[in-house]
Amino acid sequence: MAAEQQYIDLYSQCEALVNRHASDVLNAPRAKALADFKAAGFPKANTEDYKYTDVAQAFTPDFGLNINRLAIPFNPYDVFRCDVPNLSTCLYFVVNDSFYDKVKPDVKLPDGVYAGGLLAFTKQFPDIAAKYYAKAACSGKDGIIALNTLLAQDGFVLYVPKGVVVEKPVQLINVLRSDVDTMANSRILIILEEQAQAKLLVCEHTMDLNNFLSTQVVEIFAAEGSHFDYYNLEESNEMTSRFSSLHAKLEASANVLVNGISLNNGTSRNNYYVELLGEYAEATLCGMAIIDQEQKVDTYSHVTHAVPNCTSTELFKYVLDDKAVGAFSGRILVKEGAQKTQAYQTNRNLSSSREARMYSKPQLEIYADDVKCSHGMTTGQLDENALFYMRSRGIAEAEARMLLSVAFTSDVIDYVRMGALKDRLHLLVEKRFRGELAHCAGCRACK
């Protein structure tokens, strides 16, 4: 329990401070989170679902936390200037784990929509916040969620009331910025009431070459008939360890797309828990990782079909080079009575190095007898025939490899339902394969 003990000690020393700089809604689940954390500890490296990520090791070093909520010493709007007009979004920032509220974006969202800081939201709308906060991400699920719940003081909220359609995409940039090794524990809470529609792009960036440890819990509540797109684009650096878990609950006829793209990172563990709770709900869960050197991306997905007539589609792709390590573990659970379920899972990986490692494990657990479920997994190299065909037309081998690698990832990008972002991603992926995205240099999604 060495890794856990320092956090338990920290909390017992700083409980009052943590609570003082938070709110009743955020403080309410802490007691249970502490008990859950003490009971479960960090997920063990020898357990099935955490085989390829050593959590305790990542959490052992001593990181600084901003429990006192010291003010953010710079204006992120100056650092990250969004100057591509066709990717015009309502732009917000969370720096480490504090929402940046000194500048209000110059956009008028429809009446009743809230996009902004979590702490402020829980104070302004305690009833709504209490109804949803920490209700999808149960701290009993795993020790990292428990720890995040124990320490979280702020984050981001997108709340869209019944029937409201937010046309303009909302963008949140999470910036890790510090002069010392820092841990950030942040939350994203998304609430879509009946028939509401919105799109959120979250960009993850690290600005400094210090060690960063980030835990992030995302909760998505998609009520009946709502539509929601969630894009997460990670462009951090090799000194960033990120543990993210996303929990989406879909009611009847809700349509949710989650697309997680990792272009640059250190160690990332992304957990996705998607629950289809109302009939005719539709979830699309996709992602890709382009990893090289010693980068690591470990994805765990758990899709639960609790009722009949729902559809889930999963597509995850990895491109690995050097000594990169990728893991994908995808579980689909079709509960008893969830007839006419359609659940598809695909994981395709491309490795161009003998030293890279990819671990993939599909798991289907089906307790209904009238369902369409499939899973497929392949790991291989670029198609030699295609490579030769391109070379025979005069295209240099390196260029042909690049074009084929870009092509390999294109269907994940095709799932993006924001035209400007799609174009941008195609370009970013190409640059990544050309080695032009070696270090995070600000928000490339919009720069």
Binding site: D383, R391, S392, G394
Partner: protein, 251 residues
């Protein structure tokens, strides 16, 4: 333009080509015929540098250069073009990006600037017309979901775009109906000049009714066993390959 001397080649340790000699001059069209398994496609593959084949002996000079010193991409940039018997599907790579990449590499090799967007689109339009290719096809991924005929047309379209000195057509007629055959042959004929040359590999005389060869060779068991004028193709059509096999003392 092309001189092949005593060419021997293997695939997976098995010798397929057993001493080919062939000379092609500018302005000429050579037909290479022969029964299945005689080594026709192997010859085409070796010419363009397919790494699956190993050359064990011999020499190939293309415009005076030893092509074994050249990578497949450099052979293409030097002006060699193979119309594949089985064109490869490349999902996710659009025809436009593919063609632009290829064209610009050729231009770079020849010391030219990359083609401008408008000139490129104009060229695409112009060359599409050569094989009566639909605009829709050129906006799709390379060969993905194309019918057999569309794939072959796409090969000739690429040939038109790259304007090679030596075109090698490997069974471009296979799988084509009579209309598609006419379109493809018509395309090849339009691209013919006194400066360039073509090697047409085929089983049948049919294609040679449209593309008139100057010389016809018969390839059998890895060697060219007969070389004559266009009348040889007609004779083969009439008599089949058995008489050649007999002449070789096989049957």
């Amino acid at each position: 333009m092309l001189q092949i001397k005593n060419l021997h080649a293997n695939i997976n340790g098995k010798e397929i080509l057993k001493g080919i000699n062939l000379t092609v001059k500018p302005g000429e069209i050579h037909a290479i015929m022969g029964p299945n398994g005689s080594g026709k496609s192997t010859l085409a593959s070796v010419l363009v540098g397919n790494p699956a084949f190993e050359v064990t002996e011999g020499e190939i000079l293309f415009n005076g250069k030893d092509i074994f010193d050249l990578s497949p991409e450099d052979r293409s940039r030097e002006g060699m073009f193979l119309s594949f018997q089985y064109p490869v599907e490349i999902p996710g790579v659009s025809m436009v990006n593919f063609m632009r990449a290829a064209l610009n590499e050729h231009r770079k090799y020849n010391g030219l600037e990359p083609v401008s967007a408008s000139d490129f689109l104009k060229l695409m339009r112009e060359k599409r017309a050569v094989v009566e290719m639909d605009n829709k096809l050129s906006s799709r991924s390379v060969n993905e979901g194309f019918s057999g005929g569309e794939k072959k047309r796409n090969e000739i379209f690429q040939m038109a775009m790259l304007n090679p000195k030596l075109a090698i057509l490997d069974e471009t007629d296979s799988g084509l109906d009579i209309d598609a055959l006419r379109i493809v042959a018509n395309g090849v004929n339009q691209l013919k000049t006194p400066e360039n040359a073509a090697i047409v590999i085929t089983h049948y005389q049919r294609l040679l009714e449209y593309i008139k060869p100057d010389v016809v060779h018969v390839l059998y068991k890895g060697r060219i066993v007969k070389t004559a004028g266009p009348e040889l193709a007609l004779e083969l059509e009439e008599k089949g390959y058995d008489w050649i096999k007999k002449e070789m003392g096989d049957e």
